[in-house]
């Protein structure tokens, strides 16, 4: 029952999250032209939570702040205010700042948007997958490590020989599988998928999405899924939040939100994506 999610079994809780960027001209230019400091509010007081083992999709057009939220949640970017809590533990709040804790970091991973720049081109796939294992000291025995790398490759549908190859020898879809395998390497509980399929062909998209769904089922993963593509979100999400200019304008379980969007902006987003046969409400 994806609809009625109780918030007390939330895995991730985000509340009052905000982030501003300083987009003023350089100091000297401001002084000469008399311009004032300018700030861009990328994320404005956003709160939501994700239930364990479910997928929460953040949708919105580019520049709506979805990626900034994702980066703040995994700790790549510092929020200006708000709190982020994982599994009852605080990852960020205004008093402590970002909590630098490896045991927490290990549980959060990310699959990036571009399959081309997210893998170090000079590293073999085996080394790429080995690195999280080494960084978090998960497995000491080298032989066991190698077996774990092979297991990861197997899990994402690649062959064990692929460990010896370099990223450029793979297609976009395969690279995204490697990216997913790297995210899985540290045994995470939560994965942020930042538009993981937007750079892929439609047919490959479906394969990668199915892989993500299957992994979620097998490993009890919780996903935050960032996308602008309603067709993709429809397949993946249990709950959807719609972002516009850094604000959450509508949030609901996936079914009701797609069938009867309340906010005009949500309706606009739905209409702007190509319809497939059997689509729910018609605009």
């Amino acid at each position: 029952m994806p609809g009625g999610v109780m918030m007390d079994n939330a895995y991730l809780q985000v509340s009052g999250l905000s982030r501003h960027f300083d987009i003023s001209d350089p100091f000297l230019a401001r002084l000469l032209t008399g311009g004032a400091r300018r700030q861009l509010t990328a994320v404005d007081n956003v709160s939501f939570s994700i239930a364990r083992g479910q997928t929460y999709a953040l949708v919105g057009e580019s520049g709506s702040g979805k990626s900034t939220i994702a980066r703040m949640i995994v700790g790549l970017e510092r929020p200006d205010s708000g709190t982020i809590r994982f599994d009852g533990r605080t990852a960020f709040d205004e008093r402590q700042g970002q909590v630098q804790d490896n045991s927490l970091r290990q549980k959060l991973q990310m699959v990036f948007q571009s399959p081309y720049s997210s893998l170090n081109p000079r590293w073999r796939v085996g080394d790429i997958l080995m690195e999280p294992i080494r960084a978090f000291d998960l497995i000491a025995d080298p032989e066991a490590r190698r077996r774990r790398v092979h297991e990861l490759l197997d899990q994402v549908g690649l062959s064990t020989q692929d460990a010896q190859r370099y990223p450029h020898e793979f297609s976009g879809g395969q690279r995204q599988r490697i990216s997913i395998a790297r995210a899985l390497a540290s045994n995470p509980q939560f994965i942020v998928c930042d538009e993981p399929t937007s750079a892929l062909d439609v047919s490959v998209q479906a394969q990668v999405l199915n892989l993500l769904k299957q992994l979620q089922r097998d490993l009890q993963l919780t996903y935050l899924f960032i996308s602008h593509d309603m067709a993709v979100v429809r397949v993946m999400a249990h709950r959807i939040g719609v972002l516009k200019n850094g604000r959450l304008v509508e949030e609901n379980a996936a079914g009701p939100l797609i069938e009867s969007p309340q906010d005009p902006y949500t309706r606009m987003l739905m209409e702007s994506t190509p319809r497939f046969a059997g689509g729910a409400a018609s605009g």
Partner: protein, 336 residues
């Protein structure tokens, strides 16, 4: 005069290793063979075989390097061994018998009866040693500073790059002379001649780091925004690990080109300093020193003392430069 027999390190190297690890050796041999095959089939090699100038320049550079490395084996005499010199042989023109001793020399002799061919071969050795070492120094320094400036950013970036800017406003030979002078002042007088070569390397190395730093910084700025760096940050890797293990291998491409072009510059800088009398000492003459010595005799008719070292220097610097130029064009994807 007699070169020492086979070096002791050469004998035991191959023998004990081959027996127990023959299987893994053959495996690694087959891997390296396939790697060699792949390397030979690459675009790089293909381009090289299509560029006659690059081939000629490459052969000249290879030849000069080999001659310099094998100097004790290929040089007819050891020009630094006073016992091999005969003052009576002084000023023998090339390919002519000396009027007193009847000896003849391919490239003639200088004022002290030193065989010029041998002097050039040993001088080449000094020039190349100083050139290669100072490029390595400049590269190490420039790549490190560029990487740090690009990745860390902020005031450190400003500091490093402003120093680079200031240094660029002076001709590098001037910087090298300044550093040379300062270092000579620091070193105690009795060590000066022994340290002269290293002072020279330091002076040239410190004067050529800027192009490395600028290029590496620019590439680092691009690389550090890529998602693989964010993925590395995500697993809690520190700055150093990300800089040296992740970014460094990805910024080294253009460095090879700059290193080659800088090698030509460094060789010329060394020759210039030596020509001016502030470089390699007379006890270890480089090509520049030989040219300076030869210059004294140019107008008294002994042209060969100047000409042959100068031609060698020209061939070396030109070939390295042409090779660097070709590398630059080949590795630049925008020119394809």
């Amino acid at each position: 005069m007699t070169s020492p027999p086979v070096r002791p390190s050469e004998k035991p190297a191959g023998a004990p290793e081959s027996a127990p690890t023959s299987v893994s050796a053959s495996i690694s041999a087959s891997i390296s063979a396939s790697r060699l095959q792949r390397a030979l089939a690459s675009d790089f090699v293909y381009d090289f075989t299509r560029a006659p100038i690059a081939i000629i320049a490459g052969l000249v550079v290879l030849f000069l390097f080999l001659v310099a490395i094998l100097a004790p084996l290929v040089a007819p005499t050891n020009p630094f061994d006073p016992a091999s010199l005969n003052l009576m042989n002084g000023f023998t023109p090339p390919m002519q018998a000396n009027m007193f001793t009847g000896e003849s020399f391919v490239m003639g002799t200088d004022d002290q009866g030193r065989d010029l061919l041998s002097a050039i071969i040993y001088g080449l050795r000094v020039s190349l040693f100083v050139g290669v070492m100072s490029v390595l120094l400049a590269m190490g320094l420039g790549v490190s500073l560029g990487l740090i400036a690009g990745y860390v950013g902020g005031w450190l970036d400003n500091l490093i790059m402003r120093i680079a800017d200031i240094q660029l406003t002076f001709p590098s030979i001037l910087i090298a002379m300044l550093i040379f002078g300062v270092l000579r002042g620091i070193i105690p007088p009795d060590l000066r001649d022994e340290m002269a070569i290293f002072v020279l390397i330091t002076a040239i190395g410190l004067s050529e780091w800027v192009p490395f730093a600028r290029t590496v910084r620019a590439t680092t700025l691009v690389e550090k925004e890529k998602e693989y760096v964010q993925a590395a940050r995500l697993i809690g890797l520190g700055r150093h690990q990300i800089m040296w293990r992740h970014i460094l291998p990805n910024v080294l491409g253009p460095v090879l080109v700059i290193a080659t072009i800088t090698l030509a510059l460094a060789i010329i800088a060394e020759a210039t300093l030596s020509f001016l009398g502030v470089g390699a000492p007379a006890t270890e003459p480089s090509l520049g020193t030989l040219i300076r010595i030869g210059q004294d005799f140019l107008f008294s008719g002994e042209w060969w003392i100047l000409t042959f070292p100068a031609i060698t220097l020209l061939a070396l610097a030109l070939s390295v430069n042409l090779l660097g130029d070709w590398l630059k064009d080949t590795l630049n994807p925008r020119l394809k």
